[in-house]
């Protein structure tokens, strides 16, 4: 397993700027999840860790405006994404069950302003760990599910509704059964909230049984994982499987182990919204994606 930095990616992919490819091989169209050709390239947008309901002016004085700015930024993209996925921590946690539901309703109303046909949701521990996903389920549906889009098989995994941060044997078995029907060169994208690998367990940046999930994914040649939780861009390889963490839309966190605590990085008046943003992900062939990071404001 190894960490990959932006420079490595650009070197390997021959790309510059903020756009780079996650795959390391040739750029070519391939066979999709069901064995049929990928008929049409597409792109989606990943938004993460919006923490709606968070309050803390020194951390984000625009806590009620940042998500709306992100919605406006996505709506202003020249090419509309096929869908937008939210990789967890849609809301900031609260012990108050009523307030939890209010936050989810408000969040849902705001993101309904996205000018995109399809929205895909996923829970973070802030949404689901306190009540094992009850409120989340009422508002957004299943916590784990799959869908297919233009030859790519997408899997949404729940590694948060158990407060111990486990996927669990039942869900791992479900994943195994789901993938069995695919060819081993199918293009598979996995969305999780927490990292499936031990990024930095000292800060609870891991999934306790994530290794078992990676074992299930490992036989498949073209798997890519997108996740949130750590509030920063991060890229990592477990074997041939790349894992890409996304920025938050509420507050950034320090690089793993770079500070005594995983405390939010305070707002910088000289560079508002620094460290916040979202990303576009475009297919560029079998199991390969181009990632474009977009800041909020000047980023």
């Amino acid at each position: 397993m190894r960490e990959i930095n932006r420079r490595d990616f650009m070197k390997l992919s021959g790309l510059g700027g903020v756009v780079f490819a996650s795959g390391l091989g040739r750029v070519a169209f391939g066979l999709g999840a069901s064995g049929s050709s990928i008929t049409d390239d597409f792109h989606f947008v990943q938004l993460s860790d919006t923490h709606w309901g968070f309050e803390g002016p020194p951390i984000n004085p625009d806590a009620k405006g940042t998500l709306k700015k992100a919605v406006a930024a996505v709506n202003s993209l020249e090419e509309k994404p096929d869908f937008v996925v939210f990789t967890g921590d849609l809301t900031h946690t609260t012990d108050d069950a009523r307030l939890r539901r209010d936050r989810m309703t408000e969040f849902r109303d705001i993101v309904a302003g996205l000018n995109v046909k399809t929205l895909r949701f996923m829970a973070g521990e802030h949404d689901a760990a306190i009540d094992r996903g009850d409120a989340y389920h009422e508002h957004f549906g299943e916590l784990n599910y799959t869908f297919d889009h233009k030859g790519v098989h997408f899997v949404v995994l729940d590694n948060v509704s158990d407060p111990q941060a486990i996927v669990g044997q039942a869900q791992t078995k479900w994943l195994e059964q789901d993938l069995k029907r695919l060819k081993n060169d199918a293009t598979i994208v996995v969305f999780t909230h927490r990292p499936l690998f031990d990024l930095y367990p000292q800060w609870d940046w891991s999934t306790r049984d994530g290794a078992a999930v990676i074992d299930v994914l490992m036989p498949y040649k073209n798997v890519t994982v997108f996740y949130g939780h750590i509030h920063q861009e991060h890229h990592y390889l477990t074997g041939h499987i790349p894992h890409h963490a996304a920025k938050s839309l509420m507050f950034p966190l320090p690089a793993p182990g770079s500070a005594p605590k995983r405390a939010p990085i305070p707002w910088d008046q000289a560079a508002p919204y620094r460290g916040l943003g979202f990303r576009g992900v475009a297919t560029v062939g079998r199991g390969q994606f181009q990632i474009t990071e977009s800041p909020i404001g000047k980023g």
Binding site: T93, D95, A129
Partner: protein, 120 residues
Amino acid sequence: MKRTIAFVIAGCTVFLGISSRDAMKAAGGQTTIKLTAKRFEYNPAQITVKKGTQVVLEISSEDAKHGFNLPDFGVRADIKPGAITRVTFTPDKAGTFSFACDVFCGSGHEDMSGQLTVVE
């Protein structure tokens, strides 16, 4: 990774009012430290031990279920209210190492951490 012995003494009384000074006892080449967990802190949050001396942590929760994870020494345990969880390990390297709650416990969960300093 070092082997970790973790077990729960069921039915024991919960520790109350333990100061960081009182929490530590050294005897017979073993250091015993009482640690309490509550939303969203450990007490004490700073622990100093000696390299090569066996450490016994006796951890209790004052409110909800918490976790204790000290990955640098392969130590992790669930901490349940009404019981004392005991973990034993022998630090074999000096330095400062973070431990944290790894059972999500609410809005301050991310703050619930501490540091173990191992001296020569």
